[in-house]
């Protein structure tokens, strides 16, 4: 709870909206399904003609089925949104990654430094002899 409260206002509202979306979508699936089942019941008395009624029921069912599918897709989107939100706002893990990278780079730097120093020493020893040889040769 303390962490939740520590979140800034916008994040809070965003999380709430995610919650609301989840509930809305699940509710929509449920409602549409019940409505389809209700529509499936055969009723004798209708005020409009049977053909119209049938057509309307048909259409309604299709729309409701499509609504269910849409809610499902929306849930998938919600899942991906949540993932994104987590990825973008998971600062502890980001800090961990940064620390890790820091260490890695430091190790790399140390290694490079060590190698460079060794190379320098080796080269300077060789250079001294080469210089000696060069300046006393005919090719100077």
């Amino acid at each position: 709870m303390a962490q939740q409260r520590a979140l800034p206002q916008s994040k809070e509202t965003l999380l709430q909206s995610y919650n609301k979306r989840l509930k809305d979508d699940v509710k929509s699936i449920m409602d549409n399904f019940t409505e389809i089942i209700k529509t499936a019941k055969i009723e004798d008395e209708t005020q409009v003609s049977r053909a119209t009624q049938g057509e309307q029921d048909n259409y309604e069912m299709h729309v409701r089925a499509a609504n269910i599918v849409r809610a499902g897709e929306s849930l998938m989107k919600l899942v991906s949104d949540l993932k994104q939100f987590l990825i973008l706002n998971d600062f502890p893990s980001v800090n961990e990654a940064i620390d890790q990278r820091n260490q890695q780079l430091h190790a790399l730097q140390d290694e490079c430094d060590r190698k460079l120093v060794a190379l320098r020493d080796e080269a300077s020893i060789d250079l001294y002899e080469l210089e000696e040889e060069f300046y006393s040769s005919r090719y100077r």
Binding site: A65, S80, E131
Partner: protein, 651 residues
């Protein structure tokens, strides 16, 4: 009594059952034998004969009469008995209700029998099966409705199945390709390397160095794009990545800072021309590069721009004797006379046009990579400074720093000390200093090398130190003679090359400061070389057992040298018969004279004073040696030969 009744009931029921069934269903009669008796009675009761037509009533009455006849005398007797019983015990009789029911049943049976008999005769009444046409019109709309509902339910189910299939497909595909092509995992990897934030629907990233302390105003924002429009059925290219980045157009391509030092000032027409030669970039695949390389390139462009902006700002602000020139993408400065340092920002975008022009304008490779690298280091240091000065808590009323800076009174710093503490040296000044140093170093090396190649005797050896600073490096110069390195170690110089000048430290601790002019160094070295020869003779004399009669580094006599002074030495042979005098000047060269004993000089005029034989041991006059015609590969060797020739053979 009761036994008689029971018999009657069974008979009647069996008989009535059959009749009843026929009336209702037409076919099925014997399926429900016993319970139907009650049912039958009820049904019979429902038949209201009183409501029928008059003729029916009459018929019914007739039938009743028949029934009574059919029932016989027994039944009438029963009726009498029962009436009597009711009179005596109206409510207590246990079988009263049974009897009543039975009676009414009997009545109804009789009525039924009559009806059936009438129906059977088919005189007055016929029973036809009820026509079925009436029902279908009633059921038809319902079946229609059923069918239509079924259809629409099937349609809805189809839609649902399709949607479910799509969902499962996307889920499984995600799992299959998780390793390579999952947007979220890519995003996670991106998040670990770069700053990201969500603005509305977009994900924006930050590639500026602001968090590292940069004050460059460029916002450096890039956008993360979900690149999932690819057709999943087709073959997916190898380097496909579901995540792509959109970088600002002014940060595209590649950039670097080119630092070069040119000897002479270019003609003014050349000023500011953009020399965009392109360094051979690592060959990228024709497809879009990976986001990481893209972002790193963009960040590099941003950093280069920042460095250049900082440099040009300083170039304009700093007052120097020769003003720095900033033209387009080039900064020109003159560290030394006749020498110009040019720092230019080369930014090439990836389009073909600039590449083509870049290849045409390939200029000679005079790029100083060390300075470019140092510029990067400097700007990072600068970032760090701003970051630390901002971050650290410091008093609002006073600058943060050494405690003595805030003190007043006798312990306080004076202005110069404070100034020295606050090194407000800018990027440009630092890089110019470094460039000066680099130039001075390379010129020193060139001078030494040219001297070494020009003058074979004595030898110059230069040993460069491996420990350097960006503003200082050192070289050790040895002047020796070949073959005599061990005995001729007289001249060892340590040259400390700074920014503006060269400090020469002798082996004996003398320090000479030379300016950046190469001539000074050259002259100095020449004079040192000439001194070396004389020093060598001195060393040689010690080895050969000769005596040093006189030695002078700076001879006041003889022709005046334009560079330094001539030096001279005179040595005498161990026996004292011969003496060699050497005078060596940097310009005039060496002059060697040998003094013979008087006895060996035949052409000496006889003196009247020196008659005695002992005077023959006095030395005679000097004669110059034809040094060029002496054998030997160098000066010291020749000298050794000469000395050994003049020494008496000990054997």
């Amino acid at each position: 009594m009761s036994g008689v009744r029971a018999v009657r009931i069974s008979i009647e029921s069996a008989c009535e059952k059959q009749v009843q069934e026929v009336g209702l269903d037409g076919t099925e009669t014997y399926l429900q034998p016993l319970s139907m008796s009650q049912n039958l009675a009820r049904l019979a009761q429902r038949i209201d004969f009183s409501q029928g037509s008059g003729s029916e009533e009459e018929e019914a009455a007739g039938a009743e009469g028949d029934a009574q006849d059919w029932a016989g005398a027994g039944s009438s007797a029963d009726q009498d008995d029962e009436e009597g019983l009711v009179k005596f015990q109206p409510s207590l009789w246990p079988w009263d209700s049974v009897r009543n029911n039975l009676r009414s049943a009997l009545t109804e049976m009789c009525v039924l029998y009559d009806v059936l008999s009438i129906v059977r005769d088919k005189k007055f009444m016929t029973l036809d099966p009820v026509s079925q046409d009436a029902l279908p019109p009633k059921q038809n709309p319902q079946t229609l409705q059923l069918i239509s509902k079924k259809k629409s339910l099937a349609g809805a189910a189809q839609i649902l199945l399709k949607g479910a299939e799509r969902l499962t497909k996307s889920v499984t595909e995600n799992q299959e390709n998780k390793l390579q092509r999952d947007f979220n995992s890519e995003l996670l990897r991106l998040r670990q390397h770069w700053k990201l934030r969500k603005v509305g629907d977009k994900i924006l990233g930050d590639l500026s160095y602001r968090s590292a302390g940069s004050l460059f105003p460029h916002h450096g924002t890039f956008e993360v794009i979900k690149n999932t429009d690819i057709d999943l059925d087709k073959k997916i290219p190898e380097d496909y990545c579901p995540l792509d980045v959109q970088i600002p157009s002014d940060l595209e391509g590649s950039a670097y800072i080119k630092v070069s030092i040119q000897k002479q000032a270019p003609d003014l027409g050349d000023l500011g021309t953009v020399n965009l030669f392109k360094r051979p970039l690592p060959k990228s695949k024709p497809g879009s590069p990976h986001w990481q390389t893209k972002l790193e390139a963009a960040q590099n462009v941003l950093l280069c721009k920042e460095i250049f902006a900082q440099l040009s700002r300083e170039a304009v602000q700093i007052k120097s004797q020769i003003p720095h020139i900033v033209v387009k993408n080039q900064i020109i400065s003159q560290p030394f006379p006749n020498l110009q340092l040019s720092i230019s920002l080369c930014h090439s975008s990836n389009d073909k046009k600039s590449q083509k022009s870049a290849t045409e304008k390939q200029s000679p490779e005079d790029h100083l990579y060390v300075l470019e690298h140092n510029l990067h280091l400097l700007i990072r240091e600068f970032h760090k400074q701003t970051l630390s000065s901002i971050m650290m808590p410091h008093p609002a009323s006073a600058p943060f720093g050494h405690k003595r800076m805030r003190l007043s009174g006798p312990h306080a710093f004076d202005k110069n000390e404070i100034n020295s503490l606050q090194s407000s040296e800018g990027l440009l000044e630092k890089i110019i200093k470094q460039a000066k140093h680099i130039f001075l170093r390379s010129r020193t090396a060139a001078t030494i090398d040219s001297l070494a190649s020009r003058i074979e005797d004595p030898q110059i050896q230069a040993h460069w130190s491996n420990i350097n600073d960006v503003y200082e490096s050192s070289v050790k110069v040895l002047i020796t003679s070949q073959g005599y390195e061990q005995i001729c170690k007289s001249i060892q110089l340590q040259l400390n090359i700074g920014v503006e000048q060269i400090r020469v430290v002798h082996r004996d601790g003398r320090v000479i400061t030379l300016s950046h002019q190469e001539q000074e160094l050259q002259d100095f070295l020449l004079s040192q070389m000439s001194q070396h020869q004389v020093h060598a003779v001195q060393q040689l004399a010690k080895v050969m057992g000769w005596q040093v009669l006189s030695f002078s580094n700076h001879v006041g006599l003889g022709p005046v040298e334009s560079i330094g002074n001539a030096s001279a030495i005179t040595v005498a042979s161990p026996s004292g018969d011969y003496a060699i005098s050497v005078r060596n000047g940097p310009e005039s060269g060496s002059k060697i004279l040998v003094q013979f004993p008087r006895s060996q000089c035949k052409d000496l005029p006889k003196s009247d004073v020196l008659q005695d034989n002992k005077w023959n041991h006095l030395r005679g006059p000097f004669r110059e040696v034809q040094w060029n015609q002496m054998e030997g590969r160098n000066f010291v060797y020749k000298m050794e030969l000469l000395m050994s020739a003049l020494s008496p053979c000990l054997l």
